[in-house]
């Protein structure tokens, strides 16, 4: 677990302060593991109240039910090992209703494993996954009604047509018999599957299979929708509509989606969490990233970091390639002052612009520097 006094970049520090001051569910947990009482898992049971749960205003014996203000989903120091290898390590995350969280990471970063734990499909090796305050593995029935999960490969029964399949999914998720038809109709309408409703799912194209998979995840109107690579296999128009659909769903649900497509995150997420080698390396509100965007400077000369830091207005300098730098200014300093200083130092200014790809830079930096953990907000 990271603490405020540890070295972090300014974005993360800002977010850390922002989140840690937002009671009661504004940020991540900073406590000991809220481990399940299930004996099959290696637990670090504490006799005292679990700080992670205490921070969330919950106790194991008397969990608060889900409401509008409480986080729909909380992961408290969740770790997962598979075949002796650590896939996810000490992950802390919270998600509130109305929020869309983008889980970013390169292949093998632990995204799918994290989503499988969030969906209740896979138990964490340690830590707790709380759905509306209830431990998911001690109350699996919560998952039935409150979670919609679209795995990487849509779980379709090829022998059933779209409508039959969605009817089964609705019943499986606890929808009453008489309410199944309107629920299925709504899901078909939302995912634009009307013309395919009588088609066997095995005969659908990849894009339609993905949409049917999405329809099964939302047919029971769950509080939490977990989507693993939802845009995979969709054409650009379908991907665009999927983004719109996710934004629509986010009005009433909490949505987690994993992807390695940055544009998907930028288009439909409120927050982003970047996983790398199983650890949460960065977490931020997207609007904060935009607001905190640095300047991108292209110069003629090869200079080192110290040359930039000698300028009084520069808060930080980060190299992108040999002559491109990402510069963050101190508060109250104007861009023209930086431009003047660059000219005074004869760096040979070629380009100076707002850095519009802050998220991409953060992602690339984390993905290419595996041993340098970023602070998690």
């Amino acid at each position: 677990m990271l603490h405020p006094d540890e070295n972090r970049d300014p974005v993360t520090l800002l977010l850390f302060n922002l989140y840690s001051k937002s009671p009661p569910f504004g940020g991540f947990f900073f406590g000991k593991p809220a481990s399940s009482q299930a004996p099959r898992r290696a637990m670090h049971e504490e006799a005292t109240v679990d700080p992670a749960l205490a921070l969330a205003g919950l106790s194991r014996n008397n969990p608060r039910r889900m409401n509008e203000s409480s986080p729909v989903l909380s992961l408290a120091r969740v770790s997962r090992q598979l075949s002796g290898r650590v896939i996810v390590e000490e992950l802390d995350l919270t998600l509130a209703r109305g929020e869309v969280l983008g889980l970013l990471g390169v292949n093998g970063a632990g995204k799918s494993t994290t989503l499988r734990m969030m969906s209740g499909m896979l138990a964490p090796s340690s830590g707790a996954v709380l759905l509306g305050g209830d431990d998911l593995y001690e109350n699996p029935q919560r998952a039935r009604r409150d979670i919609g999960y679209l795995p990487e490969e849509p779980p379709l029964y090829g022998e059933l047509n779209v409508e039959e399949y969605l009817r089964f999914c609705a019943r499986l998720h606890g929808i009453d018999r008489h309410a199944v038809k309107p629920a299925v109709e709504k899901a078909i309408e939302r995912c634009e599957l009307g013309e395919m409703r009588q088609r066997l799912t095995s005969l659908l194209s990849k894009g339609f299979r993905q949409r049917v998979g999405l329809a099964q995840a939302i047919v029971h109107e769950p509080a939490l929708i977990v989507l693993d690579e939802p845009a995979s296999g969709l054409d650009p128009i379908q991907a665009l509509r999927l983004r719109e659909l996710i934004r629509t769903l986010a009005k009433d649900h909490a949505v987690v989606l994993s992807t390695h497509v940055l544009s998907d995150v930028l288009a439909c997420c409120d927050r982003v969490a970047i996983l790398h080698q199983g650890r949460l390396r960065h977490s931020a509100v997207l609007s904060e990233i935009d607001a905190d965007s640095a300047l991108r400077v292209h110069i003629e000369r090869d200079v080192d970091n110290d040359a930039w830091m000698r300028m009084p207005m520069v808060a930080s300098a980060q190299i992108i390639d040999t002559r491109r730098w990402r510069i963050r200014l101190r508060d109250g300093v104007s861009v023209s002052e930086l431009a003047k200083a660059i000219n005074d130092c004869s760096f040979g200014l070629l380009e100076l612009r707002a850095d519009g790809n802050a998220l991409e830079d953060i992602f690339v930096r984390i993905a290419t520097q595996p041993d340098t953990p970023e602070a998690a907000a």
């Binding site: 997962r80 209740g120 896979l122 998952a143 795995p151």
Partner: protein, 252 residues
């Protein structure tokens, strides 16, 4: 457990919208009907001679019971074929997450799958039993004995189905699941064969054999020990399957 009938119903529906279950059903019934007709023909040829003998065997002994014996042998193959897709197929088609992520208990999934597959097995048993039952119109059958034998074959089929489900839970390859279930079922059915050749027929190894517990049903004897044995084998196999699903959740 409310999802249990839902899962079972979904499996039955999926099985019978595909040709495989129908073909399996049709071929098995055709084979058994052929055996039935041959046995009937042979019986009709010797019926008059049999009537002249005191305490002679009737249609139940010479047609119905042999037919059910043949069926029990076929079930060693039919049950693995009926169960191989149930969990292995789900894992292979990546559909198991739908059930696992729906808060459905492992035992509910396994029982649903068991019931879904057992319907096919039970249907084959019922169709087979209906063949000698038709003879009731022309001759006197020992209906009590036929009922006992049918119950025995159903319990035998339930055990083999459960073994098939357990094998199906342990692999993602349906063919491998079927092969494993065939081997384990056959082994359990014939485990005391060597002992019997040696003249041992009342040892633990005899008790372990499925055949030992099926045989009394053919004689019309319904012993609680035999029923409990079949139920225990069924329960154990289903618990192993549920354990496997649990390990998929906990160990990935």
């Amino acid at each position: 457990m409310s999802t249990l009938p839902l899962i079972a119903g979904n499996d039955i529906k999926r099985q019978f919208v595909q040709p495989f279950a129908w073909i399996l059903l049709a071929l098995t019934c055709a084979l058994l009907a052929w055996q039935f007709l041959i046995a009937l023909d042979a019986y009709l040829r010797i019926a008059e001679k049999l009537d002249a003998l005191p305490n002679s065997q009737g249609a139940t002994d010479l047609i119905a019971i042999p037919l059910l014996r043949s069926l029990s042998g076929l079930l060693l193959l039919i049950a693995p074929l009926a169960t191989m897709q149930s969990l292995a197929g789900e894992r292979r088609a990546h559909t198991l997450p739908l059930l696992l992520a729906a808060g459905t208990g492992n035992l509910a999934i396994v029982l649903g799958k068991f019931l879904g597959a057992f319907v096919t097995v039970a249907l084959i048993v019922l169709i087979t039993v209906s063949m000698p039952l038709m003879l009731e119109f022309g001759t006197a059958l020992d209906l009590g004995r036929l009922a006992a034998a049918s119950l025995g074959v159903l319990l035998f089929g339930a055990s083999l189905t459960a073994i098939g489900i357990a094998c199906s839970a342990w692999t993602t390859h349906p063919a491998l699941a079927a092969a494993a279930a065939l081997v384990i079922g056959s082994l359990l059915a014939m485990i005391d064969m060597g002992a019997r050749f040696q003249g041992v027929d009342n040892a633990l190894i005899n008790w372990l054999s499925l055949s030992t517990h099926l045989e009394p049903f053919y004689s019309g004897l319904i012993a609680s020990v035999d029923i409990v044995y079949f139920l225990l084998v069924t329960l154990l196999a289903l618990l192993l399957a549920a354990r496997r699903l649990d390990s998929l959740r906990t160990r990935g």
